[in-house]
Symmetry: C2
Subunit: 234 residues, 2 copies
Amino acid sequence: MTVHMELSHDNHDVTGPVRAPLPTVRRLPAYLGLLRKYAVEGALTISSASIAAELGLEPIQVRKDLQITGLSGQPGVGFSVEALIDAIELFLGWDNATDAFIVGAGNLGSALAGYDGFALYGLNIVALFDNDPAKVGTEIHGRPVFHIDRLIDLAWRMHVHLGILAVSSTAAQQAADLMADAGLQAVWNFTPVQLKMTDGIIVEKVDLAASLAVLSNRLATAIKDKRGVHNADE
Amino acid sequence: MTVHMELSHDNHDVTGPVRAPLPTVRRLPAYLGLLRKYAVEGALTISSASIAAELGLEPIQVRKDLQITGLSGQPGVGFSVEALIDAIELFLGWDNATDAFIVGAGNLGSALAGYDGFALYGLNIVALFDNDPAKVGTEIHGRPVFHIDRLIDLAWRMHVHLGILAVSSTAAQQAADLMADAGLQAVWNFTPVQLKMTDGIIVEKVDLAASLAVLSNRLATAIKDKRGVHNADE
């Protein structure tokens, strides 16, 4: 129990109120992906049982999750595919594209700028920021790279609320503080640093190193076990 | 409580045994990053209290986490920085570089191939695989792109155990099955798909869409709240 609670804390260094259960919110993109596939195939309705079967979930879980959108399925018919897509997009704020800045135009920042999967999630990368003179003034995947000194000015002028933090660990807190000063309300943190932010700034962390650590440790253990078994056989 | 347990399940569609508490394993890269910084600065020892202060953790938590490496600190002195680095790298299997394939040479796969942060985590990307004739035979960030049909042959010949899955959602399960057929023992899954794998294959998921959903929903709620307050003032 303790283990799981700590894990969730690790993943979400959140400040401020949480209105919806996080696991439900985290599953919504999978529902959305499936529904979009059904819409393309011309399906008009879908049952929670079908959704459950496709995504490997329990039907009761699917019904409970989808309640959060305020939409209810009709008995014997299910949900309207289009209406459910609209309801989930509205709930996630993905009905309108959200403009975002990327802070850090290194490998990871450039990679994220070029990841066209974001468009599916209503995310529109408008610019990158860096302090490297070799990068400032260039374009990365069609997005301009500005000097980090211009972040405050441009965030206000362009009404951008979301920043993606993709700098090195050592520069992370300083860059995050600057994002707060610029009035950004949410930081998607791709660094392994546990940021200290003032209240009211939303932080969501994608910690690739932590994820890889879990995988590496389990792989190392598995390989060691196999070698052990093998040696015992010989 | 239930919420947190479900979240951890969402993040780790694991099969097989877990030996170490996941939250501890997930924190090890942060310890490692800090220790490497101290090593560069010439520090010989570090106390768990200093580590805790730097990373915003409780000292008791740090001591408990580091026990997993089998190393103990000396009272009044702390840990040897070098010894602790070695112990964590050994525990994670990051003492030797792990070769890995990337399956999917689209935007995300290319991005991951160019992310030099992986080298810090003992990960060595040796090749990419795709079925797009325009990509096969080219190089991406200096790594060759092979046709997906060659995965089984090359995995066996090159003794690669780890595959990074970066294809589209619709191609994910099929590609994962092929990775299992190729004898890969671990899949780092960057697709939003909940993979169905045979027992013994380790899967760790990085679900960017789920992470963004949490952020988007909280940002949308925050903006709505502020507008609400604002309107009430007028």
